[in-house]
């Protein structure tokens, strides 16, 4: 062994990506790319199912826009015009399940779709219209703007929805799941988990009936593993991509600042995703959270409310996503987005329209306020 072969310390000779100061994104934030390795590629012929918190809506839409097959297993019927379909949340995700914030919610959806679990409470009253018969689905409380005309109609829609969920599970090639939250509300009677507390968007808040739960990293890992194994048991060839939503919590029930709850929650989700990725074959972690929140981008990707992710941020995430999973080096980049258009006013209008469209994301967590 020569003197040159001996490393002075264990970091000597490691790749640049492992050193903060070597990152080209320090000089140009658009170069930020924290992905080192992905275990598989995606082709344009593969059916991609999306689910998760509201950030996941961007993933499906962008994949469709650049020619990938966002598999819509529960499409609107052809007689439904596209604007009405969008208002009723068809095509936002692969099925009309709305936002799935927690790993427990994902597991519960699968169990319900396959008849493993039937919650005691299957509908919440919505109000006095239709002689008080209108209801909302406690598990997708904002899937219809005014709920369903009756519990019987909700039952019929749910049966159709579950059929679509089973189809998605069994026919998909790629499953992209975005972990969003750890806080949830559980029904004391049977442990059913609700995405929103009763009373926020339908239903009545009765403190004796529901309990607040903040799932930790052990529970989240267990739930996520159980959900993905449940899927694999029915579709062994499915490849899985996990991401964590960069969108901060809108509200926390824990008695502390909402940002403190956000960092805790994102930490839990990040750990759970890492553990599950190590545990399962053909399972990748994709760092959406990191790209949007990295100090390199200096907060540029958040809107004025410091919560919504701007289109530039989504573009960056999807550019890196497609670079690694599809081998596409040059898809729409931030630079393309920033280039001047024909006329300044047109540019502004286009940008506003683009932003409005992209930010028109169903995020029912926003319904939570501390106002009566």
């Amino acid at each position: 062994m020569t003197h040159e072969d001996i490393r002075r310390h264990p970091y000597q000779g490691l790749p640049d990506r492992q050193f903060w100061s070597q990152d080209p994104a320090l000089a140009d934030f658009t170069q930020f790319d924290p992905v080192s390795f992905v275990p598989f590629k995606i082709s344009r012929s593969e059916r991609i199912v999306t689910a998760g918190s509201c950030f996941a809506q961007h993933v499906g839409r962008h994949l469709s826009e650049v020619g990938y097959q966002h598999f819509i297993a529960e499409p609107a019927h052809p007689i439904v015009p596209s604007d009405i379909a969008a208002r009723f949340n068809y095509g936002v995700y692969s099925c009309r399940y709305g936002n799935i914030y927690t790993a427990r919610q994902l597991l519960q959806l699968l169990h319900r779709a396959y008849g493993v679990f039937v919650p005691i409470v299957e509908s919440w009253p919505r109000g006095l219209r239709n002689n008080g018969r209108r209801v909302v689905d406690p598990f997708r409380p904002q899937i219809q703007p005014e709920g369903f005309v009756s519990a019987a109609e909700l039952d019929a829609d749910r049966a159709s929805h579950f059929r679509s969920v089973r189809r998605a599970v069994e026919e998909m090639d790629i499953f992209v799941f975005t972990l969003g939250l750890t806080e949830a509300w559980l029904d004391n009677q049977d442990g059913a988990v609700y995405p929103l507390a009763p009373g926020v968007s339908g239903g009545v808040y009765l403190p004796d009936i529901v309990q607040f739960r903040n799932f930790d990293e052990v529970e989240t890992t267990q739930d996520l593993l159980a959900a993905l194994r449940f899927i694999r048991a029915r579709n062994p060839r499915v490849k899985i991509i996990l991401t964590v939503s960069p969108v901060p919590l809108n509200a926390t029930y824990a008695d502390r600042h909402v940002f403190a709850s956000t960092t805790w929650s994102k930490g839990v989700l990040r750990i759970a995703a890492e553990r599950v990725q190590k545990e399962m074959a053909d399972c990748a972690y994709f760092p959406s959270y990191e790209i949007i929140t990295a100090p390199h981008v200096r907060g540029r990707y958040f809107a004025q409310d410091c919560r919504e992710v701007l289109p530039e941020g989504v573009q960056h995430v999807m550019r890196v996503f497609l670079k690694h999973f599809a081998g596409e080096e040059r898809v729409k980049s931030d630079d393309d987005f920033m280039q001047p258009h024909q006329h300044a006013d047109d540019d502004i209008r286009l940008r506003i329209a683009h932003v409005e469209r992209l930010l028109d994301v169903v995020c029912d967590e926003q319904s939570i306020t501390n106002r009566p």
């Binding site: 439904v80 009405i84 369903f148 109609e153 909700l154 019929a156």
Partner: protein, 253 residues
């Protein structure tokens, strides 16, 4: 386009403005009644919708200005939406039993609110015409005719003597693609519900299909259906509607 008779001063001056469903009432009036009514049927003219109304407004100035304005625009959404055509069959959400048809648990499902919004969207141009008429004839009494409901059983072309090729072709399409009767009736009822809501907002009196022309289930009886045309009422149907219309127009306020 108009078929009006000279009006006596003490008669209510009635104008009926509408489209295909006006034919039934127009036929009834032509054959029986002496009461002067002005009919303006969109299908009798090759004018655009806007110039159709402009023409009516010009013809009804001064002493010819109507005291009662009866409209019937659109009203055929249930006929189009009640066909499968090249689309997939579907079940429709319903308050009772959850869906129509009840047993169709393997079909695409369209929630009732979604169907309402589809029909509302399709009706938008007709609503615009109705609003224009309403705004023009300020001070008149407004009434609105509802379309007849669908037949329970779609007749086959061979059940009719001497029908036009167009009617034959339409009946053939219906025979192949018409959805279940209960589903067609449910779509019709959503359409009627929307018409009624709109009318209520604009203080328009609705004239519903006469009970004598309907089966106990609410379908149009075959005897009241136009010859070779299951989507429109015939003269007999029109006579019942006209009776009700005249009753409402001359009824003391």
């Amino acid at each position: 386009m108009d078929s009006s008779r000279r009006m006596k001063p003490d008669y209510p001056r009635i104008i009926v403005i509408g489209s295909s469903h006006v034919f039934a009432i127009q036929a009834a009036w032509s054959s029986v009644y002496d009461h002067p009514i002005t009919f303006c049927n969109f299908w009798d003219t090759d004018r655009s919708r806007d110039s159709f109304l402009d023409h009516i407004y010009k013809r009804t100035e001064g002493e010819l200005r109507p005291t009662h304005v009866v409209t019937h625009f659109g009203g055929n959404n249930h006929n189009g939406l009640g066909l499968a055509l090249d689309h997939r069959r579907f079940a429709l959400g319903a308050a009772v039993n959850g869906r129509i048809p009840r047993s169709a648990d393997n079909l695409d499902f369209i929630p009732r609110d979604v169907m309402r919004q589809i029909i509302r969207k399709q009706m938008r141009p007709w609503r615009g015409l109705n609003r224009s008429v309403h705004e023009h004839f300020v001070g008149a009494e407004f009434l609105q005719l509802q379309s007849p409901p669908p037949l329970e059983r779609i007749p086959l072309p061979e059940e009719f003597d001497q029908i036009s090729d167009a009617k034959r072709e339409f009946l053939e399409i219906l025979a192949k693609t018409a959805l279940e009767p209960k589903l067609r009736l449910a779509i019709y009822r959503i359409q009627s519900e929307i018409f009624s809501e709109e009318a209520r907002k604009m203080h328009i009196t609705i004239i519903s299909p006469p009970k004598e022309a309907l089966s106990p289930k609410g379908f149009l009886l075959r005897d009241f259906c136009a010859h070779g045309d299951p989507t429109h009422g015939n003269e007999r149907y029109g006579r019942l509607m006209l009776n009700e219309l005249l009753r409402l127009c001359v009824a003391p306020k």
